[in-house]
């Protein structure tokens, strides 16, 4: 097991390196000079050269990358062009707000999706299965930014039961999950964010459970005289590794999908920061946010792989 963990960790390093290369090169994808946004259009050649030297853009690209990587490793993501604040501060603040959303969306969507999928998988072809499968397809197909707007229309505009946007009257700094008046702001974004993972996890679980139910050992268990409840327990346990892999990807989806949902609800998280950075053409923030989010994703995938190998030893050996 320790050998497997070590091997998996070693494998994650080149991936993380590659991810940072992609994030770094985002600056060069931008049309024109990366300095265009900060320099006035009538800047003299001297000024351009000076600013270039100040930002290190006059060096060869590999040197620039190594210097950038060195700074990133010690937590220096540069400075936001729009606000002049350190990117690290902006990103960490936004990430904690996104974490608040994900913290509620993950248990909700994972447990609901798993239970729905398990029920549907245990009764294939019945009405209950059809209802759940239908709901799951809708969950997979729904554009969550639209679902958010529809929920706002129903619960905020028409019923006036829940707040439409934001993080509470006191803003994001004073937000506390332990206060009911603040929690009300969580309800709609969390539901919106959870819908797609619920659908995907329900579909995966249903398929996994149906597949395991077809295996010979289930017949053996039944022949042994085990109660149906005990059989289902075995089946669910065997379906878990497959579902877990998908849950790991869905965690990444929740992080990534938050861009659109946070924009709809003006939730000041990493996704909202990202869409602001795009509008302002604030490349350091764009770079920092994407790097931070994708590193979280890489780490989660690593964790899920390790968790999977703990549950299913066969994975370790392959």
């Amino acid at each position: 097991m320790i050998k497997y963990i070590f091997r998996r960790l070693l494998y994650a390093i080149p991936i993380a390196f590659g991810v940072s290369v992609v994030c770094f090169s985002l600056v060069y994808l931008a049309p024109g000079d990366p300095l265009q946004t900060i320099l006035p259009s009538d800047a003299s050649a001297d000024t351009i050269a000076m600013v270039k030297a100040a930002y290190g853009f006059d060096r060869p690209i590999p040197i620039q990358f190594l210097k950038w990587l060195g700074r990133v490793l010690v937590g220096d993501f540069g400075e936001s062009i729009a606000t002049r604040r350190p990117v690290l501060l902006e990103v960490s603040g936004a990430m904690s707000n996104t974490a608040t959303l994900v913290m509620f969306a993950v248990p909700l969507s994972f447990s609901l999706g798993y239970v729905m999928g398990a029920i549907a998988g245990c009764f294939p072809g019945r009405m209950l299965d059809r209802a759940i499968t239908g709901t799951a397809v809708m969950g997979v197909s729904v554009p969550n930014y639209w679902l958010g707007i529809v929920l706002v229309i129903i619960f905020a505009v028409e019923m006036m039961a829940l707040p439409a946007t934001g993080m509470g009257a006191n803003g994001s700094t004073a937000f506390s999950v332990f206060r009911w008046s603040d929690d009300r702001f969580l309800v709609l974004p969390v539901i919106t964010l959870s819908m797609v993972p619920i659908g995907i996890i329900a579909r995966t679980t249903r398929a996994a459970v149906a597949e395991v139910l077809n295996q010979d050992f289930v017949t053996t268990l039944r022949a042994k005289g085990l109660s149906e409840f005990a059989v289902v327990r075995h089946v669910l346990k065997n379906a878990l590794p497959q579902v877990l892999a998908v849950m790991g990807l869905q965690f990444g989806y929740l992080i990534g999908g938050s861009i659109l949902v946070e924009t709809v609800f003006t939730w000041p998280g990493s996704g909202f920061l990202l869409s602001k950075a795009i509008i302002n053409r604030d490349v350091p923030v764009l770079q920092g946010t994407i790097l931070a989010l994708s590193m979280v994703f890489v780490a989660t995938n690593l964790l899920v792989d390790l968790l999977q190998s703990m549950i299913d030893p066969r994975i370790r050996r392959s």
């Binding site: 991936i15 290369v21 049309p31 505009v157 992080i255 861009i259």
Partner: protein
């Protein structure tokens, strides 16, 4: 096994090792034995759900293609007095938008951009990713490592994030959006093709072909391609719905088309400001995305069941 593309566990992609001469087990022996594709279409024809939603997909595509002839009004003609009017107002069947433009006409025109931006990247990714995957799976060793590890890096980004990052950095627009989405879909496509190729490669008939002196290209064309195309095609069909969702999402964030061009995502984004005035109208472009995405999903589920490919 029904799974979304985002939830794909590529390692489980099964191969499609049925030769076209193999008959369908549902058919009585006395009847004419169907070929593989004939039996797929046979199964599809008797699948009412897939046929129904397939018909809707066809209608949506046709409506988008023939938008200039179907649209009752000019989708760009604004009207100061006729803004955000309800259904049926002055023969505007679905009302008008925030600038008084006919919503039905804009929805018809919007479908063109939305479908295009969703489908084209999937096609590009199928060709590029599928090609790379076949090469990687067939060549093995260092070529495989080089291709697959590069793909792993792009796979390490959540899909929405990568799409937004690339098209955001490149400055938005339809073309950049399509490039970004192609890059998002290519690694997944590549994995599907690579897994299928690697599995087929080790089968006896490939070995036999090699023994009879067939060259690499001949083997690829006659023995690998046909067997890999099934899973690749199925996977591509599941991606179409995701492609439409992501493309409209990019437009929603302002990274797709520029106003006043009609596009479902952009329409949703601009109409969002008016939810307090006419909420039903504001929800319509999103409903169009939703319906299209559901139909593509169900059709792709049906095709997968008919082609009997496990993913």
């Amino acid at each position: 096994m029904a799974q979304s593309p985002m939830a794909q566990t590529m390692s489980q992609t099964a191969i499609l090792d049925r030769s076209p001469a193999e008959g369908d087990e549902q058919v009585a022996p006395a009847l004419k034995v169907r070929g593989y594709w004939a039996s797929v279409f046979y199964r599809l024809r008797y699948d009412p759900v897939t046929m129904f939603f397939g018909a809707i997909v066809l209608l949506i595509v046709l409506a988008a293609i023939f938008a200039p002839w179907l649209a009752p009004f000019d989708p760009y003609r604004e009207s100061i007095i006729g803004r955000l009017k309800p259904f049926g107002w002055k023969s505007h069947l679905l009302g008008t938008d925030e600038l008084g433009r006919d919503l039905l006409s804009r929805l018809l025109y919007g479908g063109r951009v939305s479908l295009l931006m969703g489908v084209v990247p999937v096609c590009i990714a199928t060709v590029v990713g599928g090609g790379l995957g076949i090469v990687g799976g067939f060549a093995g060793k260092s070529v495989n490592t080089a291709i697959m590890r590069t793909m792993d890096v792009f796979y390490a980004f959540p899909s929405v994030l990568l799409a937004v990052a690339i098209s955001g950095a490149m400055g938005g627009g339809i073309g950049n959006g399509m490039i970004a989405l192609s890059l998002v879909f290519t690694p997944a496509m590549c994995r599907v093709a690579e897994t299928a190729t690697a599995q087929v490669k080790s089968l006896d008939f490939v070995e036999a072909a090699r023994a009879t002196g067939a060259g690499t290209l001949t083997i690829l064309r006659h023995h690998i391609l046909g067997n890999v195309l099934g899973p690749v095609f199925i996977y591509a069909s599941t991606l179409v719905s995701v492609g439409i969702l992501l493309a409209s999402g990019l437009s929603f964030l302002g990274l797709g088309v520029r106003p006043p061009t009609a596009d479902w995502g952009l329409m949703l984004s601009t109409l969002r400001q008016s939810i307090y005035v006419n909420p039903v109208i504001c929800a319509l472009p999103g409903a169009a995305i939703f319906v299209t995405s559901i139909c593509f999903n169900l059709v792709s589920d049906g095709i997968r069941a008919a082609m009997d490919v496990r993913m």
